[in-house]
């Protein structure tokens, strides 16, 4: 048992004890998740067409020249796995921020069209405007932000209600997805390979040029969101209740939306809209951590774990290689159906 810090003179305090127990359990779960992320990360550096042992991998990371491994591990696997960790974490945090803020698991950015906005702009850039990779990323990021603003404005009437925002978002997502499909139909064959990434998300051709901007975005937006997490958690009780507890509701909401959209946009620009990761990470984290606390860190770890494992599976578990988004999509779609059935059965609105 943990010893309870706090008032020593008091009789056994069941509240403090319960609290300490939950804190310890939460820390334990986070530690296990972190170990799993590190483990799968290491595994994806070693496994491939050629197996390299931990020693060789560490040598490569330390900058030594190892014949074969230096290229395969240093130039292919390392950026790929790092991108997986970062994109997964970004989708996880961005997703759970929206889900917490709108009190609804369906409110993930990949359901309400923010990822679709990034995809549509990227495909437009590649196929129609024929611009370079950097410009494509910029387009994707601006489009994600613009889509978020559009959905927010369309949903705004005497304040924003979660359900209305979600339904409008799903509609916007459908329109943007059809834009993507239309452009892909007209694409030249040589553009298809690049543009395909923007449909389901893929880590093929991952390079350090994609990792760096995402890492910077994480370093800026991550701490900002963590700073808002206490307020966001209180806002689950409703704006009035949170405000009575000293939360600056409007400010918290604005800062969180901007930071979360930025994370989603940068991640989408780097790896495409890896299907359902933003949508799945939060609920999985909630299931294993329990309710009532901030889910940002656990959701980030779950996101990383999802993308890393799905990418490994996609590369090596089947006869053909599948992009990571195909695997996460296959995992996420049944959960979406389950959620819709459950809300339908309980007679609730979305």
């Amino acid at each position: 048992m943990t010893t309870t810090v706090g008032a020593p003179a008091r009789e056994v305090d069941p509240v403090a004890r319960g609290r300490a127990r939950r804190t310890a359990r939460r820390a334990g779960v986070i530690a296990v998740l972190a170990v799993l992320v590190v483990g799968v990360y290491a595994l994806s550096l070693m496994v491939g067409n050629t197996f390299y042992g931990p020693g060789e991998v560490i040598d490569v990371i330390r900058g030594e020249i190892v014949p074969g491994a230096s290229f395969t591990v240093g130039e292919l696997r390392l950026p790929r796995a790092s991108l997986a960790v970062l994109a997964g974490a970004a989708f996880g945090i961005g997703g759970v921020t929206f889900q917490t803020m709108l009190r609804n698991p369906l409110a993930a950015p990949d359901i309400i069209g923010i990822s679709s906005g990034a995809s549509a702009a990227a495909v437009l850039g590649i196929v129609v405007l024929e611009v370079g990779e950097g410009t494509v990323s910029l387009l994707a990021i601006s489009a994600a932000l613009a889509t978020a603003v559009l959905i927010y404005l369309l949903a705004f009437r005497d304040g924003v209600v979660g359900t209305r925002l979600i339904l409008i978002g799903i509609g916007v997502a459908a329109m943007l997805d059809s834009v993507v499909s239309y452009i892909m139909l007209r694409a030249a064959v040589w553009d298809l390979q690049t543009a395909m990434r923007w449909l389901t998300g893929s880590l093929n051709n991952a390079s350090w040029e994609q990792v760096t901007p995402l890492l910077l975005a994480m370093l800026v937006a991550g701490p900002v969101l963590l700073g808002q997490s206490r307020g966001l958690v209180l806002m689950q009780q409703g704006d009035d209740s949170a405000s009575a507890l000293g939360v600056r509701v409007e400010r918290t909401r604005l800062v969180s939306i901007v930071a979360a959209v930025a994370l989603i946009a940068f991640a989408t620009a780097a790896a495409g809209p890896i299907a359902f990761v933003a949508f799945l990470s939060g609920p999985i984290a909630a299931r294993i951590i329990g309710g009532g606390t901030s889910l940002m860190i656990p959701a980030a770890l779950v996101g990383s774990l999802l993308v890393l494992s799905a990418d490994l599976l996609g590369q090596f578990a089947f006869e053909n290689r599948y992009p990571v988004g195909v695997i996460t999509g296959a995992l996420g779609a049944p959960y979406l159906v389950y959620l819709l059935i459950r809300t339908n059965r309980s007679g609730g609105s979305l």
Partner: protein
């Protein structure tokens, strides 16, 4: 002990969109007492309470907390002096009672500060006062309506504010739980000197439990004062548009409103109601 805080409403005008709900209303909340606000549906009493708790910015006039304009004070500072139990707060999915009540400590915590012994003591005391200590490890979703309401009140108590505003704290509760809640608030007022302002539906309970009764009619203050003076048959007719008799209640001696409708009124021929 804590009747040092003053809460004063000065010529306040409130509204949503282009609708004015409260029009130029003045109100002085007596410190260290229990004030109940009553009025017909949609008369603006909840809106008034929202403005008094800083949730709604006034169109005109102001609310003064200790002489300072409430809307200029920082949210967190207000939250240390003035607590609010809104009408229908939402319990986050899966949260346990102890954690929900602990959230009442938020305004007292700094960003990275540890949970202190003082926080722990406040939460335990709030649970004990509301008789919910044994529920501490239960999920809020599993509780009955009456238990849940006591847990929300516990959260507001853990906030340890000297002023506590409650929007219909007895809604959805059966009569015995209503009395429990009002007894609890009276204890709080007597033991800690907490100033309490609540919007209530039940006129008779309001008359019994309030030291100070405020009636609101169509966005204006109708009367304010001792329940025995404020709650007359005349006042009920004007505020609620209903005929009634007001007699001293046999238990407390406070006014008891006996409604007079069109049926089951014996020999009384009801006078037409003028609104």
């Amino acid at each position: 002990m804590t009747d040092a805080h003053s809460l004063v409403v000065e010529g306040i005008t409130l509204g949503y969109g282009d609708r004015t709900v409260i029009d130029d209303l003045d109100l002085v909340v007596p410190p260290g007492r229990i004030t109940a606000i009553v009025g017909a549906n949609a008369c603006g009493k909840s809106t008034l309470l929202r403005a008094m708790s800083r949730l709604l910015a006034p169109r005109g006039g102001q609310v003064l907390l200790d002489g300072k304009a409430l809307h200029r004070l920082p949210t967190k500072e207000v939250a240390r002096t003035l607590g609010l139990l809104p009408q229908s707060p939402v319990a986050p999915e899966g949260i346990v009672v102890g954690d929900l009540v602990s959230r009442g400590r938020s305004p007292h915590q700094r960003i990275m500060a540890r949970w202190s012994a003082e926080d722990s003591a406040a939460v335990s005391e709030a649970l004990r006062m509301t008789d919910t200590l044994e529920l501490a490890d239960r999920a809020v979703d599993e509780l009955s309506g009456g238990q849940r309401q006591r847990v929300w009140i516990a959260m507001a108590l853990a906030q340890q504010t000297d002023v506590l505003l409650l929007d219909e704290p007895t809604t959805f509760l059966d009569v015995s739980h209503q009395v429990d809640v009002l007894d609890l608030l009276t204890d709080l007022n007597r033991d800690r000197g907490t100033t309490i302002v609540m919007v209530l539906h039940d006129l008779n309970l309001a008359a019994r439990y309030a030291d100070h009764l405020v009636t609101v009619r169509a966005g204006k203050l109708h009367a304010a004062g001792d329940p025995g003076e404020v709650l007359t048959a005349e006042a009920v007719r004007e505020v609620f548009g209903m005929n009634c008799q007001v007699v001293p209640d046999a238990v407390s001696g406070k006014p008891l409103v006996i409604p007079i409708g069109r049926h089951h009124v014996g020999d009384l021929t009801p006078a037409p109601v003028e609104v």
